[in-house]
Amino acid sequence: MVIADLGSLYGMIAIGAGLATGLAGIGAGMGEQGIGAAVVGVVAEEPGFLGKGLFLMLLPETLIIFGLAVSLILMFAWTPFGQYITVAAP
């Protein structure tokens, strides 16, 4: 693949990294929304459930870490893909 200049390459990487974390965050948020509401309901009835409720509520949180891992790879460790990219001489 030939890229016109390094600036736009870094720009696109940054956009990709942002999308990866951001979209994963939205997904995790949507997952937690329902669980959170249910947990609050249960805890109101039975306060002893708080710990387990917290556990359930934090489960989808892993999703955002996946997105973040992808972002980190893009931002800091993209060198493995470097060999496939050539920058066109200006």
Binding site: L50, G51, K52, L54, F55, L58, L59, E61, T62, I65, F66, L68, A69, L72, F76, A77
Partner: protein
Amino acid sequence: MAGSKDVMAPVVEKLHELRLLHIVNYNSSMPEFELGKPLGKGKEFSEDLIKLRSMARYLDIKSKAPEVTYPESQVVSQMDDLLNNVGAEVNSTFERITEIETEVKSKQDQIKVLRPLAALPLPLEAYHGYDSLAVFVGSVASAVDADVAKVSSVSEVYFASSKNANIAAVFVPADKEEEVSSVLAEHGFAEMSVPKMEGSVDSAISALESEIKRLDGEKAPLQQKLKDLRKQHEDMILAADEYLSIQTQKTDAPLRFAETGNAFVIDGWVPTEQFSQLQSGLDSAANGRIEVQKLEDGEANQLAEHGEDIPTQMNNPKIAKPYELITRLFAIPEYKEFDPTLLIYAFFPIMFGMILGDIGYGIMIFLVLLLLERKFRTDGWRQLINIVKISSIWAIIFGFVFGEIFGPLGLWGRIFGHLPEEEIISLKLQGLYFGEGVYGALGRLGPADMFPMDRLATNAVLVLIGVSIFIGVIHTGVGSILGIKTELNYGEKKHAYFERLPVLLFQVFLTLLILGLVMSMNMALIIPSLIVIVISIAMMVMGPEGPMGLAHVPFYVSNLISYLRLLAIGLASVGLAFAANQLAFQVIMPMLSGGAHTPTFVAIIVGTIVLFVVHFINLLLGILSPFMHPLRLHYVEMFTKFYSAHGGGVEYMPFGHVRRFLKV
């Protein structure tokens, strides 16, 4: 234990005093035994307790740390006076206050109704007392006189509009009432009930207002009286509450026993090392007319395996005690389960510290907690405060490692110093750049001059990814090993070797595999790791869940990746602190960092506000997220490996009462 009914009262007394036996309630499952009956004056005690509690509620007395303690005899002698005289006074005062409040409320409602009527030119008595007339008073959407005239030839309509409503009073002959009512309904008529009063509306309102003022004046001294009563009797009431609770506990205790005509049987659990104390105590209390027996060790184990709820008493060193809060929040460990409190004590603060990792924030949190400690004296709060306190010390330690005081060292370089510019550039070119700060005269320390490690530098992120995953492998690994041990305790060999062990192998060798991939395809690591991973997956398939066990594999992979949050949350907090410092020092007040800028008054004010607000928000987040996320790592990533698989245990709650307001 079994004993003669004659000695039941002294036995209950002794049990209560010893506070050793966790009584198992008799569930009347055996026909030979029936439920016990309450001892002596139980009913009176509970009636008194209800009286006392309602009094405490009127006085708004809540449990608090005791200031004075009373001997039991004093409480008993003052009980009558407290319940009857003081109680009657409190009740009557409180009732009068409620009366006044309802009266004021109804008068205020009347005023609300009267206000709009003031726009109409009628005295109040004009609205009432007709035999042949129907009266409609209320708010309408539009003028009604024309339509009313259509259905009723004789009518009198008063109409006035104020700024938010139109008000109309319509007088018609009684026989036209229904027609007019339907006409009015078309105009959105909402009826108002006019209070039966006389004179002009304005004078009625002012009369009501002065009445309200008088009632409020009467209420104030009554409230003051309640306050005085509360001040005077608060400690005594709490002590009496405690005394009565203890008495009812004792008198109701036989309800939990099994009884025959002449004897009673109590089932219960007691810590093994205190058994002899319980036995001798009861023997002397009952003059030998009681038989106390204990289970053999093996029997208890068998019972536990069959799902009997044996109570658990958590036994941790004093320093790890606060962390029982975190364990308890999830579940009480079962009789044969491992109590994870010590593990939480070992891992939790380090994780907290690694995420927050800032000397400034750490010290701030520590100081705030010292202040909070004086305010919050209940056990739960104490434990929470202690947990965060130990964690904040770790945050300070990691702050030194990362070289952060309210953000990365870069801006605080004045205190600690910087690497020279050309050295930074050459480090960056070599790919060995871990930050530009130095430890004062010591310079940079550690292998490859890694510390102080600026977490925002690329190399530091890569190193910290590695460290996070490493902590993850250790953390989940300990969990898996404990899982194997727990399953073996319960005699579940298949679960131990084909469910827990493969997970351990899988996670450890997956990490080694990734390490091999990162170390420029180190085949000596990759090939053996791959083999072990395949074996572990095969073991999972052979395990108790069969091929369904495979469904868990993604979960085990995500377990490890989840530990990246140790790096990620920290990075977010450094990022915010860094942004705050940049904004304040470089953009708004560049003169402070040596830039060319005339210091203006406005710039300094705005810069300081930005600095304070952003750091304050970051500090709040810096307490919350580093607390929640390690909590999750424990609950989700670690506890699922070994804890609470058999459903939580029951806490050891010995029969008795801790005396707080009564002298022992």
